[in-house]
């Protein structure tokens, strides 16, 4: 008895080829192309939004860095330690700057990949 060889099973091959399925939905191609067009539009929109986000981040960073200087020109009520106000402001600013930087980097690289 000869050993069965999957590579030379012509009967099974012809049966499987005959039973080949075809996509039964006629509008499938259009549906995929529509989704692709929407995806492209969304990607362009998202890229613009990311660019704007970076721009506003840099503008915010610029103002944030110069704000302590401005605080010096503000007159505070007696008993309020001006240096403490500046310090609190700087800590909050640094945390916010790092938080948004991480978010921006994440969303930018997610878009690229």
């Amino acid at each position: 008895m000869t050993k069965y060889d999957i590579n030379n099973d012509h009967n099974l091959r012809s049966f499987i080829v005959e039973g080949k399925l075809e996509m039964p939905f006629d509008d499938f191609e259009e549906k995929v192309m529509d989704s692709i067009d929407k995806e492209v539009v969304n990607t362009i929109r998202l890229k613009k939004l990311i660019s704007k986000s970076w721009l506003f981040y840099i503008v915010g960073l610029f103002f944030g860095l110069f704000s302590p200087t401005l605080i010096n020109y503000i007159s505070f009520p007696v008993g309020v330690n001006k240096n403490m106000v500046v310090l609190v402001f700087q800590v909050i600013f640094a945390l916010a700057a790092l938080f948004f930087l991480e978010k921006l980097i994440r969303i930018t690289f997610k878009k690229i990949n």
């Binding site: 069965y4 009967n11 039973g19 399925l21 499938f28």
Partner: protein, 186 residues
């Protein structure tokens, strides 16, 4: 024109060039999704999502394998994600001797093509996902074993085992579910 030409066109910004891939691979992708999911509508959704995923990931396609291999891997992964349970399929063990297989082959050949096609499609729907998928890839796509391993992530020996088991299951299911009809008509 080969796949590479259209890949370059898509990467240059001509999105309509992607239509070529849809026309070229939708039927095989649908067959593969049907092998795993056994449902027309879910399979259509999965193939749709796979094409969209392939479009988005095309800039990352390095050309180390054929586009079809890369794309079918996406289809298989998406299908497996949507597959609800494999427990049902694990219970099925086909036992059939070579003589019976030979008889079924002869009987099947006596049918009109359309009728035979319906029987085969019905039986493929009854096979466990892995076995049906292996048959489609090996006999329909003409993929060698090593390329099937790339698409499915199975090992070489596992692929061979699945293929052998798939053949037995195919004829056992043919005998069990279609056989009665065949012998009534003969």
């Amino acid at each position: 024109m080969n796949d590479q030409h259209y890949i370059e066109q898509v990467l240059r910004g001509d999105n309509s060039a992607f239509r070529y891939f849809i026309q070229q691979y939708k039927d095989m992708a649908y067959s593969m999704a049907m092998s795993v999911l056994k449902d027309e509508y879910v399979s259509e959704e999965v193939v749709h999502d796979a094409f969209l995923k392939a479009f988005k990931a095309l800039p990352n396609f390095k050309g180390k394998s054929k586009f079809s291999t890369w794309f079918y891997r996406i289809v298989v992964n998406e299908s497996l994600k949507r597959q609800k349970s494999e427990r049902f399929w694990k219970q099925r063990v086909a036992t059939i001797d070579e003589q019976t297989i030979g008889r079924i082959e002869t009987d099947l050949k006596e049918y009109e093509l359309e009728e035979r096609k319906l029987y085969i499609q019905k039986v493929l729907k009854l096979l466990p996902p892995k076995e049906s998928l292996a048959l489609q890839l090996f006999y329909l796509s003409d993929y060698p074993i090593d390329e099937i391993t790339q698409v499915t992530g199975w090992s070489t020996s596992n692929t061979k085992v699945i293929l052998h088991r798939a053949r037995k299951s195919f004829y056992a299911a043919m005998k069990e579910h279609v056989g009665e009809k065949i012998y009534q008509l003969l």
